[in-house]
Amino acid sequence: MSLLDIQNLTVTFPTPRGPVNVVDGVSLTLGQERLGIVGESGSGKSMTGRAILGLVRPPGVVKADRMAFEGQELQGLSDRAMRKIRGARISMVMQDPKFSLNPVMTVGRQIEEALRTHESLPRRALKARVAEMLEAVRIHDPERVMDLYPHEVSGGMGQRIMIAMMLIPRPRILIADEPTSALDVSVQGQVLDLIDELVRENGMGLMLVSHDLHLVGRYCDRVMVMNAGRVVEVLDAKNLHAAQHPYTKGLLAAVPRMNETRAELPTLDRSQWAST
């Protein structure tokens, strides 16, 4: 059974020039697999992830024919019921750990907090789970790191702490929205490998939202390419380079290569230049 089943998802925002569909009729299913959602800014890829978690703020309006998590319809759930799912059952890792961690709370406390809101455990068991989780994200001295404040850790470690925080309630689905674009290349690989390993070990579903086709191709089973709120095509990651759609092909070709010989990079035809 699929973990997530979404049919005809639409997210609409009012603008002075009338309502705009930021996400426009997206359908997708997610099983125990790794699905990549790729697109450029404004393609609606992040908004799709947010809509699933009920994080679209008014005046945005989310509509879908069906939006089911493990068979349970998410639309129309009370805020309270949604909070129980969000975090505990479906988690999200955001782009920049600097903005996602509370600066005046130690790392350990924040992870504890994430666990405590969903499960009640005795103090000692709580500590043990946190330490275990930090070790799982390859932080080797959890006891020390638990007492650090977010500004005392590096970007890569901050992102690993975020992952620990998101995975400690043992969710079924992890939505990672550009989890590494704020990090250096040397750390990017580590963080993605880690997400990959944890997702596979726990039989979770991963939704990796990114602008980087190659990266998504490397870490996902299937890739969904979006443009202007719509799904352009869905491909097996293996066949990424055999993409048919001109948009996907254009995106792939626009990236400079290491053994670059082209004098000029091919660009996408943007006939709607003026649109902001």
Partner: protein, 255 residues
Amino acid sequence: MGFDMSAIHLKDLNIFYGDTQVVHDVTLDVAAGESFALVGESGSGKSTILKAIMGLAPDWTGAIEVDGKPRSHGPDRAFSRQCQMVFQDPYGSLHPRKTIDATLAEPLLIHGLKNRDARVVELLGEVGLDARFRFRFPHQLSGGQRQRVAIARALALEPRFLLLDEPTSALDVSIQAEILNLLKRLRKERGLTYLMVTHNLPVVAFMCDRLAVMRHGRIEEIASAEALKTGALATPYARELYRLSNPEETAEEQP
């Protein structure tokens, strides 16, 4: 000093922010007309070098020479006609309350240049922006369009040197391709010398002739773009960066 053909000459450059030293003993020469890249991870001091050359990081020791003339420790008017900089963030580098016209006319106004209206229109054309954009405000433009405006502003004084600080890292790949093409074309047409900071090795392969790999404020290695393309880098750190930004699978699967 400066007996060679070097257009930008740095010797034993040490740069400080307060009590911390961010750049250690950097020596490098960029030839006239060359496109040179400074590559490294965040905190490697690569952007700081650009700032020191421009006079925005005044606390340095050693020597900086541009076009044979030593640089002072602050921005100055004469230098600004010779060398300009393009910033990373297209959202932060344009004044939010000024029209594109005002932004582009500003450097011309400061230097008392004539024919400002004609020049502004010409600059817009050169960076591939329609004249309709002239009286818009930055918030009415996309990231790529703003970066084009920032490049046009840098070109307004017709400098011979352009320092580029991660000019495309905040942009989408398709927009990045457009901006890189634009920069490449401008260099060819105007015979510009580029000193570019980036963390993206494939961009270096496309844009640059040589690169310096930096780490913890020091230069690890200076290599040619040819060496980069074939992976023939000398130091372990540079090879590691190469490996990370050129994952085997994707490289091999490309036709």
